[in-house]
């Protein structure tokens, strides 16, 4: 796969052999630990190499999961599909999409086109539920458990 197309991305999303094994543990980002992140490698029987990056920020009340394509050029990894909760988005020429939205690679818009997904009802503060809902549309099986991130309100400022 030397160039990325929407058809390639749809095929990756539709691939039901994608699996993440083991538990997902959020790691503190930075010294103060407000934000937390994780990266989880995805194993697939048929598709290229991908992984998930997760971010949660209790200060800005935002949560995101991003499916990243890392094949074939590792230094040019591309975000091809993602969920953002708590962040509004404007589609060029189309107007605002709500604070819970997914982005998916499209040939014309690349990774800038967002839509409001009907299947995500979890708030940013429930990343475990949001993760389960995200995995369903992404056809992603997680055999372990996402550990609830731990942060303290008084650390915010």
């Amino acid at each position: 796969m030397t160039s990325l197309s929407e058809a390639d991305v749809l095929a990756i999303i539709a691939d039901t052999s994608k699996v993440i094994e083991g538990d997902i543990v959020w790691q503190q980002k930075g010294r103060r630990g407000r934000q937390q992140t994780f990266r989880a490698e995805i194993r697939s029987d048929v598709g290229p190499e991908t992984y998930i990056d997760g971010y949660i920020n209790p200060g800005s009340q935002k949560l995101s999961f991003t499916l990243v394509l890392k094949y074939p050029i590792r230094s040019q990894s591309r975000r091809i599909y993602g969920l953002d909760i708590g962040r509004e988005h404007e589609n060029k020429g189309e107007g605002m999409v709500g604070a819970t939205h997914k982005t998916r690679w499209r040939d014309e818009h690349r990774d800038r086109w967002a839509y409001a997904p009907p299947d995500i009802t979890a708030p940013w503060s429930d990343p475990v539920l949001a993760w389960k809902q995200f995995c369903t549309e992404a056809n992603l099986r997680h055999t372990g458990t996402m550990i609830t991130p731990n942060y303290q309100e008084e650390m915010l400022l």
């Binding site: 103060r32 040019q76 988005h89 690349r110």
Partner: protein
């Protein structure tokens, strides 16, 4: 303080496009009309603390950059751009969180605008990344970009710098070296390892290893001359084995840790 009161205060100076939401615990979010490069809306946050306010982005701009670039480390140039932006706008940077503390009611609007402006500029750092270069469809060599960054960095450190140096090894083969950098106490030949793909990375690794081996035994070797292999580790292209291989014949530095390079070059303080 009620969000309505804050909204009315902002509306005196800002268009209605700036919308306030109550986050609870005397914290508020201001949705601005500014956008990050991909269309995500820029938010600013206000916390009422005692008799003043703290205005911040809670690290949102840095988060946005991380999620859109998939990078785990920033190059010195990207870090410098972020720091320069905050310094120019008089904004504190705490662990990549932009913050203005002890803001008065009268200067709240100005503070919100400054934080929003800084977030937009930090978002523009995305245009310096390889992902952005792909999107702009301008062919760009990953190695050229890094070499140019290193050249600028070296010159800022009062070193005598020669670029595209040719050096002959004991095999009588001539090698192209990216830089010869001279400080009062040391002369160094610097090889930059930066590549867009696995295969080109492997080729570059072996080329530099061979060059260091050959030059190390070359007739032109000067006692104070040292070899530095500078890895562009802002992408996940290199492994520990790669560092260990070049450590056999050279000093190894990482571009994400410029202080290591300064030490090897013996940059005058």
């Amino acid at each position: 303080m009620k969000v309505q009161e804050l909204q009315e205060h902002l509306a005196l100076s800002l268009p209605e496009l700036f919308r306030c939401d109550d986050f609870g615990n005397d914290r508020f979010r201001v949705r601005t009309p500014l956008l990050f490069p991909n269309g995500d809306v820029i938010d600013v946050f206000i916390a009422k603390i005692a008799d003043s306010f703290t205005v911040t982005d809670y690290g949102d701009a840095a988060d946005w950059l991380d999620t859109r670039t998939t990078l785990r480390r920033r190059s010195p140039k990207q870090r410098g751009l972020i720091e320069d932006t905050c310094e120019m706008l008089g904004i504190g940077l705490e662990d990549e969180q932009m913050v203005l503390r002890e803001v008065t009611w009268g200067s709240l609007v100005d503070s919100v605008v400054r934080i929003a402006q800084a977030e937009a500029r930090v978002g523009d750092v995305w245009f310096t990344t390889r992902q952005a270069a792909q999107d702009v469809s301008v062919p760009r060599s990953a190695a050229d970009g890094t070499v140019n960054e290193v050249a600028a960095w070296l010159r800022q450190r009062n070193l005598s710098v020669e670029t595209k140096v040719e050096a002959t090894g004991s095999s009588r083969r001539t090698w192209a070296v990216d830089f010869k950098a001279s400080s009062p106490t040391k002369e160094s030949l610097v090889f930059v390892l930066s590549a867009a793909g696995k295969q080109s990375a492997r080729n570059r690794l072996y080329e530099v290893a061979a060059a260091c081996l050959d030059l190390g035994r070359g007739q032109e070797k000067v006692e104070q001359l040292t070899f530095i292999s500078l890895f562009d580790d802002t992408s996940d292209m290199w492994s520990q084995e790669d560092f260990d291989l070049l450590r056999l014949e050279s000093n190894v530095a990482r571009w994400s840790r410029p202080s290591e390079l300064e030490e090897l070059l013996e940059v005058p303080s």
